[in-house]
Symmetry: C2
Subunit: 460 residues, 2 copies
């Protein structure tokens, strides 16, 4: 590891000094994934130069690992012939990813490829990028159940594959998946002349081409599978999703969830322009803006019932009540959203989490409410004269904070659950909705309690 870091630094140094002829022998010592990383980090105008410094036999591996921006920079400078030569040597799923990015050029390139390869890729290109079909490779090994273990091993020994092979799939005459066996288990069974019919595990776990990639990753992770067979609508085996793609999906989905919670989009991790970033984020900001307008109107209408001096005294505590309500709500909705994402949609489990949130919210509200209440009383008392008696103000602020936090906890927990029931992705909708609603409710609660309490002082 440390060795490759040192070499990468040397490459970076050579790029800075434009010492191009030093780079090829440094690249030779690096793994394609590290070469790709070096190119990704290099200035955009050197992407193409660096790629041209690579040996032809390593170009396909490096291209498969580049990020979208570097890939686009390089492909732009290559002719269709050059691309078709590289793409032919890639695993079919990686080739499909590259051609998928090239859009109108892809037909021309496919035409230049060997028929067999281009058909495989064309097949894969028809699936939505974020489905099992979009991430699968057509590079798998399937045999008939009548084959013996040693025949199967001889068959495998003859094959030329682009991706690691761990499992052998067993199919019937129509190509439907009927069983599977791990390669190393097959090795142990070669001596007895048994067929795969007898040896294979009939309990197959598979997905359809249209399964969402998140679902694919969940199934692989749950059943501890390092590759997952993919079936078409007629149950015919047409591909497999390999462990490396599953890991990529897990990373991608985690990013997506994190960005949704922040009211943004994971496409921002790619090199989008600031304007595209604005587009991705503005919806949430506009919801917040709308909420802000409503908050202002609420404040206005409450102020009609209070004296101007009371308004001033109370307005000190608006930031604190809004911030605390907001944080409590985010903590509680994040907990539930992640719980749902990890599969805790079972109603008993959800009820338990909600109860948990109510108790936690109320407890924290009590602690923080008391603290702020005491502090409010102390600040006002120090002031000397005040329109509201310090003890009443303390009580008002304390109760308001407690109520706002307890409410935010429950509301933050309930919204994702209800959205999930209504089949709306809780991660994308909860963030803005919970934050915005909590702002409004925190203010309503604060001024509502204030009016009640101050009404009480007036009467006292």
């Amino acid at each position: 590891m440390s060795d490759s870091n040192r070499i990468k630094e040397q490459v970076a140094f050579c790029i800075k000094g434009e010492l191009w002829d030093q780079i090829p022998k440094l690249f030779e010592e690096l793994h394609p994934a590290d070469i790709a990383e070096t190119i990704n980090h290099a200035p955009a105008n050197t992407h193409n130069i660096l790629f041209e410094l690579l040996n032809d036999d390593i170009k396909p591996d490096v291209l498969a690992e580049l990020d979208d921006q570097a890939e686009a920079d390089i492909l732009e400078e290559l002719t269709d012939e050059e691309i078709s030569d590289i793409v032919e040597e890639m695993a079919p799923d990686d080739a499909a990813d590259v051609l998928g990015e090239l859009e109108e050029r892809s037909e021309g390139i496919l035409g230049l490829m060997e028929t067999e390869e281009s058909e495989e890729v064309r097949e894969l290109l028809q699936y939505d990028e974020e489905t099992a079909g979009g991430i699968m490779t057509s590079d798998f090994v399937a045999v008939q159940a009548s084959m013996t273990a040693s025949e199967a091993i001889d068959y495998i020994a003859e094959l030329d594959l682009d991706e690691p092979l761990y499992n052998l799939y067993v199919i019937d005459l129509e190509g439907r998946l009927t069983g599977w066996i791990q390669l190393w288990e097959l090795l142990k069974k070669t001596n007895h002349g048994m067929t795969l019919e007898e040896l294979a595990d009939k309990e197959t776990i598979s997905v359809r081409t249209d399964a969402d990639q998140e679902e694919v990753a969940k199934i692989a992770s749950k059943y501890d599978l390092s590759s997952l067979p993919v079936l078409d609508a007629n149950d015919r085996l047409i591909g497999r999703v390999t462990a490396d793609d599953i890991m990529d999906v897990m990373e991608e989905e985690a990013s997506e969830d994190i960005f949704k919670l922040a009211g943004s989009s994971d496409s921002e991790l790619e090199d989008t322009s600031p304007l595209q970033a604005c587009k991705a984020r503005l919806p949430w900001l506009l919801i917040t803006l709308g909420t802000g307008f409503i908050s202002s109107l609420i404040l206005k209408s409450f102020m009609n019932h209070l004296s101007i001096a009371e308004i001033v005294a109370l307005s000190f505590f608006v930031p604190i009540i809004m911030a605390m309500g907001g944080n409590t709500g985010i903590q509680s909705s994040t907990l539930i959203i992640r719980g749902i994402a990890l599969g805790a949609s079972h109603s008993r489990r959800i009820m338990k989490i909600i109860t948990h949130e109510i108790i936690a919210g109320a407890t924290m509200g009590l602690i923080c409410g008391t603290t702020v209440g005491l502090w409010a009383g102390f600040v006002i008392a120090k002031e000397g004269s005040s329109v509201i008696a310090p003890s009443y103000l303390a009580l008002t602020v304390g109760i308001a904070l407690f109520s706002a936090m307890a409410f935010a906890a429950v509301f933050g927990a309930l919204v994702p659950v209800l959205l999930n029931r209504a089949k709306i992705d809780p991660a994308v909708a909860s963030g803005p909705f919970v934050t915005a609603s909590n702002d409004i409710f925190a203010l309503l609660i604060y001024y509502g309690i204030t009016l009640l309490m101050i009404g009480a002082t007036h009467l006292a």
Copy 2:
């Protein structure tokens, strides 16, 4: 898939009706991972009953898949002898996980196990849970470089392994890793009497026992590896991390990052008590509380320079300015934190993201500032009389919102970068720090600009 869901529903129904004798034949049709899921979701007081309904040969597989709470419920009711019988049949890493949870009971159970198994487990128990040593299994296959391909295959065929075998590791006489080869590649090379010295790939990628599990997952994902060899301090091969554990780590680390951003802890996904939840979340809430106190004091000191009527007019817009600044800051720090987590710590890349954030923040600030400014002017103008001229108020609020958002975007982007430079985890520290600081700065900017602008009106 749909079949197993139907069976799981039937089991849940039987649990409700306490129809225990119906359950074993339903369990027989389920995968251990699905049985574990069913038990996890069942009421706590049935965990032990359900586990006892299982065939002895499936108990180890189910136990390995249970969540911590269900596992603890079940282990509590089992004798040391029963646990040792089950644990002996588990993969060493899963066995170590179970015994690690049992703490003081583990010594007694280890004493009851076969010496060979207990030594393997004892070996694994010494490593920190969240390191390569803590997630690796000692169940791997290593051979000497002098072995031929067909000898190696015969050797593998004799082995009894608990976990899937995909790669064969090659070691020298001291047990140091010198190469590796995939099983299916080995199969293709059996005919020529070549040794592993000639056949194996010398470019090994490995981790040390003390490598952080997040690092392990990153390496596996980067180099597309489905298992990763683990070396001790003397470079001796002592274990491997398998794909299923890598997927678990990725899920765990994603949860951790998400919870850190929300100011909470991923331990909350386990069944913690509400009081433990409060403990995990209070630090952030207390920071927010502290910030709130500072905000109140800032408001107070600004108010000394404004007339009471001006204060009231301006206080309408406090919620909107705080909320918009807060959201912009969160969006921008989330982008950077995730970028850093995914490895974009390269300074050129980071500078690019920061520039990007500055432009995006300023653009969004301009759009939102103009909208709010116009709206502020309109609301106040409708009011008829006002202490501040509508056009001036509109301009003040608009400029303040623009400044607060642009500042929040830059600040939100810079803080994680600086924390990362200072070797502090940006995810855990940025959330509270950025949110709290943005609240304070948004208010400072708002009232600062107000004072400047109103100073200007007074002069005008």
